[in-house]
C-alpha cells in the first residue's frame, strides 16, 4: 500500500476551491450566513464608507447642487487648505484639541485609578453600591443636560456658585468672561461625567488580581501603602497603559457634545475652548463654509488615523492582548 493521505478533518470545507469559482462556491454554501451580514454592510457602506470617499470634498469647490463628486476641483488643489490656514483659527483649534485632550486623559486616568484602588479597599457592600450609584449617575445624562447644570452653577445673575459667593460675602464672578478658568471647568466636568464609567475598567482589573499576592504581601509585613504600590499598581499597569494608549489614539477628536453644550457659541471663550470639532461644525452649519470645514475635517481625519495606528502599534508591542486590533 502506498502512502495514505492524511484525512481532511476540517469540518465543512472538504475541498479547497480557488479563484472566482471558489468565491461563488463559498457564497452559495454559506449564503445564509453572509446574508446576515448584509444589513450591517449596507449601513456601514452608506454611513461610514461613502463619507470616507467624500473626503475628496476637501479638494473641491463644493456646491450642494452638484454634490460631492460633481463639484469642480479646486484650483489650485490646495486652495481650501490655504484658506483654512490663512487665519490662526484652525491652528488654535488644533492646539486646543490636543492640549485639552491631554489634560482630560491625564486627570481622568489619575482620578479613576485612585478611586478604583480606594473603592477596591472598601469592604462594605452597601457602601460600595451607594458610592457607585452616585459616581456613575452623571454618565447617564446627555451633555445637553449637563449644559443646563453648568448654567445653574455658573450663571452670573442666578448661578448657585455666585449665590454661594454672596453668602460668603464675595462679589459675583462672571465665569463666562474668563477663558482660562474654563480649562479647569471642562476638566472637572469631564471627570465628573466619565469617571464612573472609567473606574469600572480598573475595578475589574483589580478584581482579577489573584488574592494570594496580597496574602503573600501581608505575610511579609507589607503596609497597606506598600501593598497598593508594589502589588496592585504593577498588576493593573497593563490595563492602565493599554487604555492610556488607546485614549491617546483619539487625541485629535474632541468630544463635540461637551463643547457644544458647555461653551456653545460663546465667542469670548474660544481662545481656550474652540476645538477642531466645534470649529468644523461652526463653519459647516452656521457659516455654511463647506470648503473650509471639509479641509479641516480632512486634516483631522488623516492625522487622527495616523496617530491611532501608531498608538495601537505601541499598545500591541507593550501588551498583545490589549491592542485594539
Amino acid at each position: 500500500m502506498g502512502k495514505r493521505k492524511r484525512p481532511d478533518t476540517r469540518p465543512y470545507c472538504k475541498r479547497e476551491r480557488r479563484g472566482f469559482k471558489g468565491f461563488l462556491y463559498e457564497m452559495k454554501k454559506n449564503a445564509p450566513l453572509y446574508s446576515m451580514f448584509i444589513p450591517a454592510a449596507v449601513l456601514l457602506i452608506i454611513f461610514n464608507y461613502l463619507p470616507m470617499f467624500g473626503l475628496v470634498t476637501a479638494f473641491k469647490d463644493f456646491n450642494f447642487s452638484d454634490g460631492i463628486f460633481g463639484s469642480p476641483w479646486m484650483d489650485p488643489w490646495y486652495g481650501n487648505f490655504k484658506y483654512l490656514f490663512s487665519t490662526g483659527a484652525a491652528l488654535r483649534a488644533t492646539r486646543n484639541t490636543i492640549f485639552l485632550n491631554v489634560l482630560f486623559i491625564f486627570f481622568e486616568l489619575v482620578i479613576e485609578v485612585a478611586f478604583a484602588i480606594m473603592f477596591a479597599e472598601l469592604r462594605s457592600k452597601k457602601l460600595k453600591s451607594g458610592i457607585q450609584f452616585g459616581i456613575f449617575l452623571p454618565y447617564f445624562i446627555s451633555w445637553i443636560v449637563v449644559g443646563l447644570f453648568s448654567y445653574n452653577l455658573f450663571s452670573y445673575e442666578h448661578g448657585s456658585l455666585n449665590n454661594l459667593r454672596a453668602l460668603m460675602g464675595m462679589e459675583p464672578y462672571n465665569w463666562y468672561e474668563h477663558p482660562y478658568i474654563w480649562i479647569l471647568i471642562l476638566v472637572i466636568f469631564r471627570i465628573w461625567k466619565m469617571c464612573g464609567y472609567g473606574m469600572v475598567m480598573y475595578i475589574a482589573a483589580l478584581g482579577a488580581i489573584d488574592t494570594s499576592y496580597y496574602e503573600a504581601a501581608e505575610i511579609d509585613g507589607a503596609t497597606r501603602w506598600q501593598r497598593i504600590r508594589y502589588v496592585s499598581l504593577p498588576l493593573i499597569a497593563p490595563t492602565i497603559i493599554t487604555l492610556l494608549l488607546l485614549n491617546c489614539g483619539k487625541i485629535m477628536n474632541a468630544d463635540f457634545g461637551m463643547f457644544y453644550a458647555l461653551i456653545g457659541d460663546n465667542g469670548q471663550l474660544y481662545s481656550t475652548t474652540d476645538v477642531l470639532d466645534t470649529f468644523i461644525y461652526r463653519n459647516l452649519r452656521l457659516n455654511g463654509d463647506v470648503g473650509m470645514s471639509s479641509a479641516a475635517g480632512f486634516y483631522q481625519s488623516i492625522l487622527s488615523t495616523a496617530i491611532l495606528l501608531v498608538m495601537n502599534k505601541i499598545a500591541r508591542k507593550y501588551n498583545p492582548e490589549g491592542a485594539l486590533f
Binding site: 454559506n30 451580514f37 470617499f53 450642494f64 458610592i131 450609584f133 459616581i135 443646563l148 447644570f149 445653574n152
Partner: protein
C-alpha cells in the same frame, strides 16, 4: 478582600473621599431639582440654591399647561429609542455571527470591513453631505435612527461572546436539520442573552440621549428629539408664545418663571433616565466589564 476584620478604621479616609465624590456627582441634580421648585421671585433675589426656601410648583404647572411640545418631543424620542434599539440589536447581532464563525471563509475580511470603520472616518462634513445631499435624510424619524444602527463596537462585543459558544452547539443543531437562520435565532441568540442585554442597554441609552443627529439632520423644530428640545426651550423660552392660546400666554409671560421653567424642563427630560437608573446601573457595570473589545 484581604483581611477578615469586619470593621476596618484605616479605610475611613478612603470611604470619606469616595462618599464626597459621590455626593459631588449627585449635587448638580439636586441643584436643578431645587431650582425647578423655587419661585421666580426667590431666584431673582438670591439665585439657585441647594434647597428652596419655599417649595413652589408654578414652573411645573406652566410646563404642563403647555405640554404639547414636550409631549411631542417625548413621542419622537420614545419611537426613536424603541425602533432604533430593536433594529440595531438585530443588525449588530446578525452581523457578528458570520464574523465569529471560522467555517465562513471570508470571516476575516468581514472582520476587517467592520474594523476599518473604527480606524478611519470621513468625519462630519462628508457624512453630512452624504446624509443630506445623497440620501435626503432630513426632517424624518429615520434620520434619527438609521445612522446609528450598525456599530463596529457592538458588533465586536457580540462577536467575542459568540466565539465562546462551543461549535458543537451549531453542529448538533445542523445534524438535527436546523437551518442556519433557525440555529442563529433559536440557539445562538438565546445563548447570548447576557451580551445582547448589555448592548441593548447601551444602544437605548445612546438613542435616548442623542441630539447630534437632531442638530445635523432635523431643521423642523416640531421634529426635534427631546434632548434637542430641551436646548431649544432653555435657550429661548419663546416656545410658550408660539402655543395656540395667545392671550393666556401673554398673561403668563408677564411674570413667567423662566429660570425655574428651564430647570423644570430639564427634570422632565431626565426623569425617565433617573427612574430606570437604579434598576439598570449594575447591568451597565457588568456590561463595561465584559466590554474589553478587540478587533
Amino acid at each position: 478582600m484581604h483581611t477578615k476584620k469586619k470593621l476596618n478604621w484605616s479605610n475611613l479616609p478612603f470611604a470619606i473621599i469616595l462618599i464626597l465624590a459621590a455626593m459631588l456627582c449627585v449635587i448638580p441634580f439636586i441643584l436643578v431639582l431645587s431650582g425647578s421648585l423655587t419661585s421666580e421671585a426667590e431666584i431673582n433675589e438670591s439665585g439657585f440654591s441647594l434647597w428652596p426656601k419655599q417649595v413652589d410648583f408654578t414652573a411645573y404647572k406652566l410646563l404642563f399647561q403647555n405640554f404639547s411640545r414636550i409631549a411631542n418631543g417625548y413621542r419622537i424620542t420614545i419611537i426613536v429609542t424603541v425602533v432604533g434599539t430593536f433594529l440595531s440589536l438585530f443588525v449588530n447581532a446578525m452581523a457578528a455571527y458570520p464574523i465569529s464563525q471560522d467555517r465562513v471563509k471570508y470571516h476575516s475580511f468581514l472582520n476587517f470591513f467592520v474594523l476599518f470603520t473604527m480606524l478611519f472616518s470621513g468625519g462630519m462634513v462628508p457624512w453630512f453631505i452624504v446624509c443630506r445631499n445623497m440620501l435626503h435624510l432630513t426632517d424624518s424619524i429615520w434620520a434619527l435612527i438609521l445612522p446609528y444602527l450598525a456599530n463596529a463596537w457592538y458588533i465586536f462585543l457580540v462577536r467575542n461572546y459568540y466565539r465562546g459558544i462551543p461549535i458543537e452547539m451549531v453542529e448538533a443543531a445542523k445534524i438535527d436539520g436546523a437551518s442556519e437562520y433557525r440555529t442563529f435565532f433559536q440557539i445562538i441568540m438565546p445563548l447570548s442573552k447576557p451580551v445582547l442585554a448589555t448592548i441593548t442597554l447601551f444602544i437605548s441609552l445612546n438613542y435616548w440621549n442623542d441630539w447630534w443627529l437632531g442638530i445635523m439632520l432635523i431643521d423642523d423644530t416640531d421634529k426635534q428629539p427631546l434632548q434637542l428640545l430641551l436646548r431649544t426651550i432653555t435657550s429661548n423660552l419663546q416656545f410658550l408664545s408660539a402655543s395656540s392660546n395667545v392671550n393666556a400666554v401673554a398673561e403668563v409671560m408677564k411674570d413667567m418663571p423662566s429660570e425655574a421653567i428651564k430647570m423644570a424642563t430639564c427634570i422632565v427630560t431626565i426623569g425617565p433616565i433617573i427612574l430606570v437608573y437604579p434598576f439598570v446601573q449594575k447591568y451597565f457595570v457588568k456590561g463595561i466589564m465584559v466590554g474589553a473589545v478587540k478587533g
